[in-house]
């Protein structure tokens, strides 16, 4: 791949997305044969079964004389679909990209590509587009299942839109993180371990660290009751930012704020008589994850572009 990110022929940026040969090749290979459609069918089948089981379990546990409250049932179905999509974003999207570049190295095609005129950022974008293309197909294919929640009621369009934005951005970021690991390591196995390690750290590790910090540091702050309103506000902001690094926490907190505070974007909080504006967690999440995605994309392109010294 070429030295400069901008090719000398100044190819329009749009062409990188539209006419990318790597995207075309990858999608052609991925969608060829029955494999892609079998995976899609199994995915939708499992999801349908899960929703049915969850609905039946909820219906049998409700003690309403006329069956379960459809609004509550709609929320439960929606939560189940979002839960599956979260797993898709955290584990499946990076699984497609973790082997994307190491696979080229293992097939010994990486050097062939590096001697062509294909710019490094085109190569990385091609790999990303093709991986996300399939993941987005899975997410879009599950929308009809989500619409069951609409039929049952109890779900607002804001909940649906915000959840889909969060999941898609998470999928993009985790996919780019997978590409970064793939560009940095030599084998697909090592890249997969690193990718899943990072994804698990962001999903499970951060909440654990947060809980430990709260457990150890909390008593120091809160038992003395001497915490000033400034420190309280700072802690609240810190907790919000930390929460916005975590996908499940962001989804849950955004839903809570949407229902409790009835706000989609901002809300006010009072500390010692002073009012502070807070962003809804999903907005912070979007900003943080887009920045992380940009950083990992840049690092990946740098790695791919680098000329070997040994």
């Amino acid at each position: 791949m070429t030295e400069s990110i901008q090719p000398t022929t100044k190819l329009p940026r749009l062409r990188m997305f539209r006419d990318n040969p790597v995207t075309m090749k990858e999608l052609r290979s991925r969608m060829r044969g029955r494999r892609a459609f079998v995976v899609l069918t199994i995915y939708l089948g499992v999801m349908s079964l899960l929703i049915t089981l969850i609905y039946l379990a909820y219906a049998s546990s409700s003690n309403q004389p006329y069956g379960p409250d459809p609004r509550q049932a709609g929320k439960v179905v929606f939560a189940a679909v979002v839960g599956v999509e979260v797993l898709l974003a955290i584990f499946i999207a990076p699984a497609f990209t973790a082997g994307a570049i190491t696979g080229e190295k293992e097939r010994q095609t990486f050097d062939l590509l590096r001697t062509t005129l294909l710019p490094a950022n085109w190569f990385v974008m091609g790999k990303l587009q093709s991986a996300l293309g399939y993941v987005l197909l899975l997410i879009v294919a599950s929308i009809p299942l989500q619409s069951i929640a609409f039929l049952l009621g109890g779900l607002s369009w804001e909940e649906l839109v915000v959840s889909q934005i969060i999941i898609v951005i998470a999928a993009v970021t985790f996919a780019i993180f997978g590409l970064f690991c793939s560009a940095s390591l030599r084998s697909t196995l090592a890249a997969s371990v690193a990718t899943f390690g990072g994804a698990i750290f962001f999903t499970l590790g951060l909440p654990v660290i947060f809980l430990l910090m709260t457990g150890f540091l909390g008593p120091l702050f809160f038992t003395t009751s001497t915490l000033s309103w400034v420190a309280e506000a700072a802690l609240a902001y810190g907790a919000f930012v930390l929460m916005a690094f975590n996908l499940p926490a962001t989804l849950i907190a955004s839903e809570v704020f949407l229902l409790e505070e009835n706000t989609l974007f901002f809300f006010k909080q009072n500390f010692g008589g002073h009012q502070f504006w807070f962003f809804s967690p999903w907005l912070l999440f979007v900003v943080i994850y887009l920045l992380l995605a940009r950083l990992f994309y840049w690092l990946t392109v740098r790695r791919v572009r680098r000329v070997a010294k040994s």
Partner: protein
């Protein structure tokens, strides 16, 4: 003829190991240059530097006037590179493979279809256009790989061991293709450790050993320069002693292997002769003039392997 590939003091070190040591090379446009050396001599390292895949420790190199370190994109536009392995994409058809690489070389989409057909015709793979790449034989894959290097019509082809691992028929096919590419005006820089492969096709050769260029020049000149010693087998009727005694009186005879040599029949002598063709003719005339009962007089067809062994003798270890 203009110089199309040039290196000056090209050096590559991996820690304490010097893989390439002050390589100075000049290759003319349109030449078929055979880069000869045993495994580990520095051939692939040189090629990886020339194809911008590896940064040299010191020294400079240019391909088609573009510096490999300062203008890698210019170099990549000018070269077609075939490594010593064949990278296979699964689930890819032959035409898709060529179309993909053509797209990577920014060939417009409307020009690709005709170009793919032309290239497949050149390497005689039209009948495999819709076949999957992984289903091709090794020889076919190698030809397809060669077609891939031509998608952007480069001036220079850099081929690392193009005939390695192929059966004799496939080797001949590759050799024929190289001749055809030479006729098309391409400059071909290819490596090999099988010297007989090089002899038929090359216009010039370079012999590299332990990272150093030990010989470099026009093919016929090299043969002439290096083949100073010829091995002549002389068979006689009966005892070889009179023949041996006569040969000792003649000039240009460096040594005589006779009856003690187990490889030779008892009625045959092998002489190490350092004269030219005229001197050899004189020798034969002298033998016949002496009335010696000669029944066979022939030069051993020493090939470039001997040349190579001669040139590199003492450099290794």
């Amino acid at each position: 003829m203009a110089t199309i590939i040039e290196t000056q003091g090209l050096t590559k070190q991996y820690g304490d190991l010097t893989a390439l040591n002050e390589l100075d090379l000049q290759i003319e446009e349109g030449a078929v240059f055979g880069f000869i050396g045993p495994n580990g001599a520095g051939k692939t390292t040189t090629m990886r530097i020339l194809t911008t895949l590896l940064r040299p420790t010191s020294g400079k190199a240019w391909v088609a006037g573009h510096s490999v370190t300062d203008d890698p994109r210019g170099v990549r536009r000018a070269i077609g590179y075939m490594p010593d392995f064949f990278g296979v994409y699964e689930d890819m058809k032959v035409w898709e493979y060529l179309d993909f690489f053509a797209a990577c070389y920014e060939i417009p989409v409307n020009a690709r279809s005709g170009m793919v057909d032309d290239l497949l015709a050149l390497v005689d793979l039209q009948h495999k256009k819709e076949a999957y790449v992984e289903s091709l034989s090794r020889g076919m894959k190698q030809r397809l790989c060669l077609a891939r290097t031509l998608t952007h019509d480069p001036q220079v082809l850099i081929l690392d061991e193009p005939a390695s691992g192929l059966d004799p028929r496939a080797r001949i096919e590759i050799r024929e293709l190289l001749r055809e590419l030479k006729n098309m005006g391409k400059t071909i820089f290819f490596s090999s450790h099988i010297l007989s492969e090089v002899a038929d096709v090359c216009t010039s050769i370079g012999i590299v050993e332990a990272g150093r260029l030990v010989a470099h020049g026009d093919m016929t000149e090299m043969k002439k320069q290096l083949r100073t010693h010829r091995l002549i087998q002389i068979r006689t009727l009966g005892d070889v002693t009179p023949l041996q005694e006569y040969l000792l009186t003649r000039p240009y005879i460096q040594s005589i292997n006779g009856t003690a040599d187990l490889e030779l029949p008892p009625d045959t002598l092998r002489i190490d002769f350092s004269g030219d063709d005229a001197a050899l003719s004189d020798l034969l005339a002298g033998l016949v003039g002496q009335g010696l009962p000669i029944i066979a007089f022939s030069e051993e067809t020493g090939d470039l392997e001997d040349v190579f062994l001669q040139v590199t003798k003492g450099i290794v270890n």
